[in-house]
Symmetry: C2
Subunit: 467 residues, 2 copies
C-alpha cells in the first residue's frame, strides 16, 4: 500500500489504530474456511464517524474494505481476498440499550453473540437466532450474513429480528435506516436489503433487534434411530403433523462418533441417527408437545426417546452439538461444511442422496443440520493437500448442489455465498438474477470497494485466486 | 395515447384485453383515497409472459405502468397519477398450490385475500396477515404494499411470510426469486426488496408464502374503559408483562359510535374506549392468557372485560372492527386514514397527542388501530370541498407526523407512502436515505416506467398534481 494512503489513515483514525505489521495482518487474513489472503492494513475504529472517514479515504483511492467481526464465517465472506483494508470491529462492542417495554434492543456491531443473548435473557427476554458460532461471532457479522441456527425452525433467522440499523455507505455517508417500530413501510425496506449482503453494500455499525419474552419453560429430548431414513422421515412427519418445536437437529452416526471422540456428552454412537429436539412454551405446552413428538417419532421407528432430566443434561447435549464443527476439524485437515437447504418434505430424499454421493466418491461425509428447516450441513472431511481426493470432493459438491436445486432448494440456507459458492450462483438465481444483484451493488457502491469479489463478480473483476 | 402504441398492445395481448373506453378507464382511476387520475389504457393480462410483452412495449415508449389489484390502497399507490397503462391483475387468480407438507402456498397475484385465507384454513393451515380490506384486496397488492393488519402483533406482517416470487422487471425480464425454503441466503434478499416497494420496482406475478399450522383454539374478548388513557396504558402494560395476544385493537368512543350507527354489533358506545383482544393457541393456553390479560386490564382501570361466548359472537365483533373505515366513509365526505406508528411504550403519549390536536384544530378524529404494534389509525373525518377545514386538516396531519417521528416512530406502519405521504419522506429517512432509494429505483427501472411518481420523485419528476 502506498505510504500516502497509510498517512491519510493515520490522520483520520490515529496511528495507534492502524496496523501494518505482518503478524497483525496474518491475524485478519482468514476465517473458518480454508481461504486466506493478507490485507494491506488493518484499521481498528471505534465509531461510525471514524469508519466514515476511513471509507472516504478508501473510496478516493479505490481500496477494498472488508469489515470483520469474529471471523467465524463459513463461506470466506470475511477474507480480504483483494487485499486492502480490514476494519476490525471489536471496539464497537457496546450493548446500547435493552428496552423491555418495547421488546427491542440496540447493539453495536462488534458485540459478541453469546454475550448479547445472555444479557437479554437476564432481563427475561429472548433473542432466538443462535448461530453455533455464538461464543465467537458478533452481532454485526450475524446481520451481514443473516445467520441462522437450530432455532430457526420455530423462530426464524436473524433477518426476522432486524428492525433498524446504522450503516456507513461506500462514500462515507452515515445512514440510519428502519427504527424501533415493529411495523414500518416508509419506502424501500433498506434494513432487510443490507441484512445478508455480506458486507458488500455497506458497513453495519449498530443494529436494533426485535425481542420476544423468554419462554416460561423448555425441555430437550433426543430421539434415537436404528436407520438414518427413519430419522429423516420423522422430521418430515413432525412438520406434516403441524407440530412446531424450537429445534429439530439431526445428527448421523458418523457425526455422533466424531463428537464423542473429542467431546463426550453421551450421544448414542451405536445408533444410526439421533434428533435433538427442543420444545418451549408454558410448562403445560412443553409437556404436551413432547408427548406428541414422542408418538410421531416412535411411529416412524425411533428405538428410543430420551428426555434430558435437568437443564445441565440438556446443556451438555447442546454443547456436543455446538462442538460438532470443531470435532470434525480435529479429525480432518480440511472439513468443508455445506449448507444445502431443501423444502422440508424433500429431506429424506436429500439425506439419502448425500449418503449415496459419499459412497460413490469414497468420501467421509457426516451429515447433521437444522433439519426442521430442511437445512442440511453435510461436512466433507477431507485434506486440501490430497489433490486426488479434492477432485472427488469437487465432484461430490457439484452433485449435491445440483440435486439441492432440482428438489427446489437453495445453495445456502444460512452460511452465505462469499467465495465458496460463487460459481454455483447462476445455477440458482440465473443470469438475470445475477444481473439484477450486480446492478444493485453498482448503484450503492459504484467503485466496488466494499468486500469486492464476494457473492458474485462485477463484469470487470477477475476470478478470485487463492492466496 | 398514440395509436401505434395501442396497436402494439393489441398485437401482444389481443384487442379484447385492451380497454380504452372512458367508462373502463374511470373504473381504474382511483383507490381508497381521494386521489384519482385516468389511465390512457387498461390492459387485462393473464400470464407473466403477456405482462412481459406489455412491459417491453411500455419500456420502449417510456409509458408509465401501474399494476392494480383490488384498488383498496390507502395511500394512492394504485392510482395512475401519470396516466399510461393500468395492468388489471384480476385474471391472475389461481391458487397454484397449498403444500401442507412444507407449510407453504403459492398463488397468483390477483388472488383475493379472504379467499386465500379460507382455502388455507380449510386445510388446517394458517396465513396470519389480515389487512382489513381482505374481502376486496389481492395477495399481489398485499405484497406490493407489505400489508399488515391486527394480527401483526403476534405474527408479523406480509413481509414475514413471503418466501419467493415471480416478478416481471421494467424491461420485460421474468425473474423467479427466493423459493420454497424457509432459510435462504443465496445472494441479496430480492424477495424482501420487492415486498413493500409499491409496484415501483417490478410487477409481482405470483408469490410463495410461508404458512403456519392453524392454532387449535382462539377466543376474542373486549376490555372496556371509562378513560381512553386507561386503555392506552393497558396496551403498554400487556407488552411489559410479556403477554403476546394475537391482536390488541383499540377503538375510542367516536369510532365505536360511528360503527354502531351503520353496523351495530354491540360495541359499548357509552365507554371511552375498548380493546378488542384475540388470543390463540391450545385450549389451555388460551384460557391462561385470557386470565392474565383480564388481570392486567382491570389493574389499569378496565370497567369491564367481556369474552365472546361463541365463534359467531366473536366474528360479529370483528365484522364491526373491519367495517370501521366504511362506517366513517358513510359519515364523512372525506375520511383520511393515517398510519402513524410509534414504539409500543409511547402509545399513551401518542393517543393523547392526537386527541389534543383534534381539539386544537376543531376536527373530528376518531382513533383506532393495531395498538399492540404501536400502529395507530386516526381517521380524520373531513370534507375535501371545505377548503377552510382542509387547511386545518393539513396542519393537524403535519403535527401528528412530526410528533410520531419525535417519539421514534414511522410515518407509515402498513399503508405505505404512495402519493399521500411523499412530502414527509425526507423527515423520516433523510436526504441520504431518499438518495439511496432513488439510486436503487434507477438501477432497476432506469426509464422510470413502473408506478412513477410514487413513494418519492426522481430528480427529473414534477410534483404530482391531482387530476
Amino acid at each position: 500500500m502506498q505510504d500516502n494512503i497509510i498517512n491519510e489513515l493515520y490522520q483520520v483514525i490515529g496511528k495507534e489504530n492502524v496496523l501494518t505489521d505482518k503478524e497483525d495482518l496474518i491475524c485478519y487474513s482468514y476465517d473458518a474456511t480454508s481461504y486466506s489472503h493478507l490485507p494491506e492494513v488493518v484499521v481498528v475504529p471505534s465509531s461510525a464517524e471514524e469508519i466514515s472517514l476511513v471509507l472516504k479515504v478508501a473510496n478516493k483511492h479505490r481500496m477494498p474494505v472488508v469489515a470483520r467481526g469474529g471471523g467465524t464465517n463459513l463461506c470466506g465472506a470475511s477474507v480480504p481476498i483483494k487485499g486492502g483494508i480490514v476494519l476490525a470491529m471489536h471496539r464497537l462492542n457496546k450493548i446500547i440499550e435493552i428496552d423491555g417495554d418495547n421488546l427491542v434492543a440496540t447493539v453495536e456491531a462488534g458485540v459478541n453473540t453469546e454475550k448479547f443473548q445472555q444479557a437479554v435473557e437476564a432481563k427475561g427476554l429472548f433473542y432466538p437466532p443462535d448461530p453455533q458460532s455464538a461464543k465467537m461471532s458478533t452481532m454485526g457479522g450475524n446481520v451481514a450474513q443473516n445467520a441462522g441456527g437450530p432455532r430457526g425452525f420455530k423462530y426464524g433467522v436473524t433477518r426476522d429480528f432486524v428492525l433498524g440499523m446504522k450503516v456507513v455507505l461506500a462514500d462515507g455517508t452515515i445512514l440510519d435506516i428502519g427504527g424501533k417500530t415493529i411495523k414500518n413501510v416508509t419506502g424501500y425496506d433498506l434494513t432487510k436489503f443490507f441484512t445478508g449482503s455480506e458486507g458488500t453494500l455497506g458497513v453495519i455499525i449498530a443494529i436494533t433487534f426485535r425481542l420476544l419474552p423468554l419462554p416460561e419453560a423448555k425441555k430437550t429430548m433426543l430421539a434415537v434411530f436404528g436407520d438414518l431414513m427413519d430419522g429423516a422421515r420423522t422430521i418430515s412427519s413432525i412438520v406434516k403433523n403441524k407440530i412446531i418445536p424450537v429445534t429439530l437437529e439431526m445428527m448421523d452416526q458418523e457425526t455422533m462418533g466424531l463428537i464423542e471422540k473429542s467431546k463426550p456428552v453421551g450421544l448414542p454412537t451405536d445408533a444410526a441417527a439421533a434428533i435433538l429436539i427442543e420444545v418451549d412454551g408454558s410448562e403445560h405446552e412443553v409437556e404436551r408437545q413432547m408427548k406428541k413428538i414422542e408418538k410421531v417419532a416412535r411411529a416412524e421407528g425411533a428405538t428410543d426417546v430420551v428426555v434430558a432430566r435437568t437443564e445441565e443434561e440438556a446443556a451438555k447435549l447442546w454443547e456436543g452439538r455446538k462442538a460438532a464443527f470443531g470435532c470434525m476439524a480435529l479429525s480432518a485437515v480440511t472439513p468443508i461444511t455445506e449448507d444445502a437447504t431443501v423444502p422440508r418434505s424433500k429431506l429424506p430424499e436429500m439425506v439419502k442422496f448425500i449418503k449415496d454421493v459419499a459412497k460413490k466418491y469414497s468420501l467421509s461425509i457426516p451429515v447433521l443440520g437444522h433439519t426442521g428447516d430442511g437445512n442440511l450441513h453435510p461436512i466433507i472431511c477431507t485434506d486440501e493437500n490430497n489433490l486426488e481426493e479434492m477432485e472427488r470432493v469437487e465432484k461430490a459438491i457439484d452433485e449435491i448442489f445440483k440435486e439441492t436445486l432440482r428438489l427446489g432448494g437453495t445453495l445456502s440456507g444460512e452460511h452465505g455465498i462469499g467465495l465458496a459458492k460463487q460459481k454455483y450462483m447462476e445455477l440458482e438465481v440465473g443470469q438475470d438474477g445475477l444481473n439484477l444483484m450486480r446492478q444493485l451493488k453498482k448503484a450503492v457502491d459504484p467503485n466496488n470497494i466494499l468486500n469486492p469479489g464476494k457473492i458474485f463478480l462485477q463484469e470487470t473483476e477477475q476470478i478470485n485466486e487463492k492466496a
